[in-house]
Symmetry: C4
Subunit: 276 residues, 4 copies
Amino acid sequence: MKQPNTEAITHLRNRIHIIIEGTDTRLGKLFDIVLLIAILTSVGVVMLDSVLFVRLQYGTIFFYAEWFFTILFTLEYLLRLFSAPNRFRYVFSFFGVVDLLSILPSYLSLIFGGVQYLIVIRILRLLRVFRVLKLKAYMQQAGFLASALRTSQQKITVFFLSLVLLVTIYGSIVYVVEGPENGFTSIPISIYWAVVTLTTVGYGDISPKTPLGQAIATMVMITGYAVIAVPTGIFTSELTRNMRPQLNPVTCPNCGKFGHAVGAEFCDRCGHALHV
Amino acid sequence: MKQPNTEAITHLRNRIHIIIEGTDTRLGKLFDIVLLIAILTSVGVVMLDSVLFVRLQYGTIFFYAEWFFTILFTLEYLLRLFSAPNRFRYVFSFFGVVDLLSILPSYLSLIFGGVQYLIVIRILRLLRVFRVLKLKAYMQQAGFLASALRTSQQKITVFFLSLVLLVTIYGSIVYVVEGPENGFTSIPISIYWAVVTLTTVGYGDISPKTPLGQAIATMVMITGYAVIAVPTGIFTSELTRNMRPQLNPVTCPNCGKFGHAVGAEFCDRCGHALHV
Amino acid sequence: MKQPNTEAITHLRNRIHIIIEGTDTRLGKLFDIVLLIAILTSVGVVMLDSVLFVRLQYGTIFFYAEWFFTILFTLEYLLRLFSAPNRFRYVFSFFGVVDLLSILPSYLSLIFGGVQYLIVIRILRLLRVFRVLKLKAYMQQAGFLASALRTSQQKITVFFLSLVLLVTIYGSIVYVVEGPENGFTSIPISIYWAVVTLTTVGYGDISPKTPLGQAIATMVMITGYAVIAVPTGIFTSELTRNMRPQLNPVTCPNCGKFGHAVGAEFCDRCGHALHV
Amino acid sequence: MKQPNTEAITHLRNRIHIIIEGTDTRLGKLFDIVLLIAILTSVGVVMLDSVLFVRLQYGTIFFYAEWFFTILFTLEYLLRLFSAPNRFRYVFSFFGVVDLLSILPSYLSLIFGGVQYLIVIRILRLLRVFRVLKLKAYMQQAGFLASALRTSQQKITVFFLSLVLLVTIYGSIVYVVEGPENGFTSIPISIYWAVVTLTTVGYGDISPKTPLGQAIATMVMITGYAVIAVPTGIFTSELTRNMRPQLNPVTCPNCGKFGHAVGAEFCDRCGHALHV
């Protein structure tokens, strides 16, 4: 996909790429800071625009501001697309998709009214700009958390599948017991109620009225109350394990095995003395 | 219980058993996949059927679909019963009971209307079909969680008995303090309120009105808020313990050091071979 | 306090004491089982009696049943008092107080109506009867949990004092911001709301209406959501520590120090060889 | 800033400083106890004053009591200011700010009515007085908790930033889906709803009505239910790590073993004295 005609274009693409993606050059830093402000301002504008009495007063300003930011981000998107070393990969990367979703709702709002509020999704773009702010230590910690989540992902999947089964069955039983006359108008609504109860949210928009329904609700609540221990336990034990003091970073001079128990004098694979 | 008359029947039973219970043969796999789809579809039909405005339109289709699946699962149940090596054990096994409960509500609905929705319990049958989907790693993790739950089962029982006592006493006190005029119409209802509050669900359908009642409610809430730490602590410490890397109970024949890292070939204190 | 007049009375006291407190004799076991049934039945009667439409029908039966049990438990209390080796200590022991509170409400109800429902406190007496049911293993586990709670008691006190300060300040701020016209009629009520919100119960009987009030509520909720980590962390780490593999139960033959690190060859206090 | 004119003033400042800040002298202890009572009484007065029917009866007494305490605390503030070794540092210290905020609302209430209730912030001053009550062990535990919070502060910041992004996006989506006609009148309100739901508070003042909105709500709830595991896991693993018994970093002069139990005098491998 590389443009073969001129070297000038390749040079331009590289320069833009360094400015947009890099943080080392002065222009790159400036670009990131401007972007940070633009994102926050545009999200703020959208939020204020959704408040009726503010819109009534400043509606036109907001309208122009929103289109100003949309065009700005569209230009930026095109520049990123133009300068990306691999365009296909960029478009389908996490940030590529977010960049597109950040401008699409404005254009779609020309067809479907109200959709423009979805551009707050551009707040996710902050994740990219965070690197300007010397947040390296934080990113490391985030990676730490993410790694613990990843290792426990299978256990968490099992846990959620069990929840889905549980909530479906509880919901159906309560639907039969309480019935539409008590607000449990269908099985999906009853499952929604079961989720509201199990997660201990408890809106109270739907709540059981019959003694039997309340007895079942009691069971759902206690299940939810106790079952929270499971994801917590999974995640905590994973984090605790990661934090456990590692092996000594010693390499066996004979067989090359790396990492030995604290206090080990001999390699436990080949029997060679570790500290000669 | 083995049929003595013909070998043909024994042979047939074995073949059916392999298809129904096994996953290695092509027919067995196909059977599991068809079953998976049938379960999901039939549960979906029941759910949609419970939504009034959908039922009004597609009610007759749903009616026939439900009976189609019921007869299908009845046939399957009879086949399982026929091919089971030990029929008595199958009928009273977990899956035997679930299989029966999956078809019974349809037949009962001929007598008691509305009960047919309980057939969503057949979603539990998915647990059996999951094995098709190469979920071995997940099943292992599930076993891991289940084992941690089993070891801490005594502690959890003690915890729940304490909760039951607590909730009964709190409920009765609030009943006396608030009384029927504030919605606490009986002790069972007040206990229901105490559960709603202690588990931090908080529907708000019943809530204390008098200052004294609110003071007691505050205590119930704080109890519930703090006490969640107990099941979480029990489960987490159990999981953490299970995850701790065990030492092999091997004694070094030279220096006598006991306990070596899993996989160690040589003593890490004196360098002597461990397994001579 | 020992009665000096006859040996017969001392003998009788001992016999009654063995029957009432012991579980080894046949009569002692029988006594415990009868007591267990009596407690459960009497609590059940009180609960049913509080349900209006049941009382309307069986009110008189319940009335006589309640007095029957009250007189029964009064006799039992007198017997315990009579046979206690140290009466003063019994009366002020945990179970002595519970025994008294289990009968008092009935007599008080002659003066203040409605108080009789408080006799459900006699459900606490079950704790004593549990020993019949071979619940030794469970009691051990309960002791385990109680010990972890006791060691972390100081940390938990600090945590609760912080909560009290937090809730008082949050409540007062919201009271000033929202005011009586939005349901926050006084500071105590606002503190009650802060507890309802912080513990994530959220009845919804009082909820902020102004934007500023909702912003503060957001902070209260997030505080409550995050702060639950503190008691959980305290309790879990205490339990985990208790479960950690203990020292080797070896006594130094020289200095007598008991308990040495796993794998220790020499006493780390006197330097003497441990395994001679 | 030291007053150069007389030694008498310096002497007076020192004496006042010892009484106010110290707890060793009899006068210092007395001062702390009087302060403790004054704080609690004044907070109690403010709370009662906010309850309408109590104010109607004792309003004038409360009015004078509040001004009495305000003037008392103002004098105390001036004394602290006068006796502080470094006035600038005192004014901007945590307690300096709290001391000022404890009296300011009363004076401001002359201009803006209702603000005087904010003086309950003086309850924070209790933290300073706690030292009288021999709460050293508790303070140590508090420091322990605070240290665990500080070490995990980066992870917790990452966690909260993720929550803010999540809640903003969820809120906006629900705003578009449900719209003002279902109570989601603006994006800020919808974000408020998302916080109420994610933290499992669930007032029920705003709740989704459309099936799509309820489906999204289900996702928010399950997110909130599972995500609580993260701060809990972070804090617990930090506390657990802190509680792990540390080894002393001592090397045996004879066999070279590194790392010995706290308090060990002799190497537990070779028996040689550790500290020669």
